[in-house]
């Protein structure tokens, strides 16, 4: 079975945006975000609605950057961290675009991009958008304890980012002239497999996901014609410090050339010297916002040529953890290529 799907007409990024909250603004990438709301509430009454509004802002920003309107979006692939993906469906309904709501925990960003890419490749749609969001306060409420509860976070715990990323992909060459972007394409992808994370500790999700990331990277290079030296960076989603340490140790042993190229979005979003992040950022907004605020601009400029991008997801629910199930990891892969 071939797992890498090569795209004959690689869809191009014609626009992208990143939106964040207060801690994201204070982080190293704060100025690269298109919009940050320091109150985290985005003018909404509840944190759940705030997450949706953040996604709506991200999509609107991405559309305005490439001078497109809602009508150009033939397919919207989007997801968030809440139960039943409700932030997305509540806020993006007004766009009226055909909609696929997806859930891949923190791997949602890559999952959305590869679903949209294959829809474009098949000719089913020519232009579509992806939106991925996570909100710290909404996630704390759903997965952990009340916001004002006085508990201590474990040093391996990660901070769910309040962040959204939106991307517009097209297979239609005529649209490229309208946008200042368009150099970056998705040339191939590999759908992730579910890998047991061997722990039910929800405060150590980076470790649980690291095995999925390691297996995806190893399997990708086993099958691909590309070598690790052909890539400038191998970027994982939100392994954080603990997960990154484990991944690099595994790669050092099995694929040393990949280890030196590794970068993790979860360790890029915050400044551990100034912010009390513990093991780093998590949440599906993390890889989405780092992709659009940090990686895509560098690819667009030609500073980076080829990037292997894997958002990492920890598949679990509060009930599954209480019932003693281990956390499952998944790491879908996309290959980003720049012609700049």
């Amino acid at each position: 079975m071939k797992r890498i799907k090569i795209l004959n007409t690689p869809p191009r990024f014609i626009s992208y945006s990143a939106v964040g909250g207060r801690e994201e603004k204070r982080g190293p990438l704060g100025d690269a975000f298109d919009l940050c709301d320091e109150s985290d509430s985005f003018g909404q009454k509840t944190w759940e609605m705030a997450e949706g509004e953040m996604g709506r802002c991200a999509l609107n920003l991405a559309l305005s950057k490439c001078n497109m309107s809602h009508d150009n979006i033939e397919l919207l692939v989007a997801g968030d961290l809440q139960n039943q993906c409700v932030a997305t469906s509540v806020s993006l309904g007004s766009f009226g675009a055909p909609f696929l709501g997806i859930y891949g925990a923190c791997s949602t960003c890559t999952e959305a991009l590869l679903i949209l890419s294959s829809m474009i490749e098949s000719g089913a749609v020519s232009t579509g958008a992806c939106v991925t969001t996570s909100h710290n306060s909404a996630a704390e409420r759903q997965f952990r304890t009340p916001l004002e509860y006085g508990g201590q976070r474990s040093p391996s715990a990660q901070w769910t980012s309040t962040a959204a990323g939106s991307f517009i992909l097209t297979g239609d060459p005529s649209l490229l002239s309208a946008s200042k972007y368009g150099a970056v394409s998705i040339s191939d992808f590999m759908i992730g497999r579910i890998v047991d994370g061997a722990t039910s500790d929800a405060t150590n999700m980076g470790a649980a996901m690291s095995f999925a990331a390691a297996q995806s990277i190893i399997e990708y290079f086993k099958e691909s014609d590309m070598k690790t030296r052909d890539f400038d960076l191998i970027v994982t989603g939100d392994l954080g410090k603990v997960g990154s340490d484990i991944l690099r140790a595994i790669l050092d042993e099995r694929l040393p050339s990949a280890s030196s190229r590794h970068l993790d979005c979860g360790t890029l979003l915050y400044n551990p010297k100034r912010q009390d992040v513990h093991a780093g950022a998590s949440g599906c907004g993390t890889s989405a916002s780092v992709l659009s605020s940090y990686l895509l601009p560098r690819l667009e400029e030609g500073e980076l040529r080829d990037v292997l991008f894997l958002s990492t997801g920890a598949l679990m629910s509060p009930s599954s953890v209480l019932q003693g199930n281990t956390i499952k990891g998944i790491a879908p892969v996309i290959h980003l290529h720049s012609d700049a």
Binding site: G21, E23, N136, P146, G151, W159, D201, D276
Partner: protein, 123 residues
Amino acid sequence: MPDYLNLFLVFLMGGFLSLIAQILIDLTRLTPARILVAYVCSGVFLYATGAYDTLYKIFGAGVATPLIGFGAAIGRGVREAIEKNGAIGILSGGLSATATGITAALIFALFFSLFTKGGAKRM
């Protein structure tokens, strides 16, 4: 005139009971909720065995303020209610004895929740 030795003993015991819980949280994978449950249950047990009264005479608020005191109050409530009312005391004693605390916590929580929803978590 406060008794300084008494105050020192209160501080010592309150600190010690918190320290034990902290070590249990950090060293074992026990969640805080489980540890608090263990504290309340051991409060009932300590009262039942008579050890709590001895500890209370020495350490006062040092044992009464931690959740062990909450457990002991349940134990005392049950015992006194049985002595006064017989078997029905088994059911009525525990909550009657802790009604003040539980009601206070509920009412303050309700009151404050009408005015604020709390803020976002900060690093």
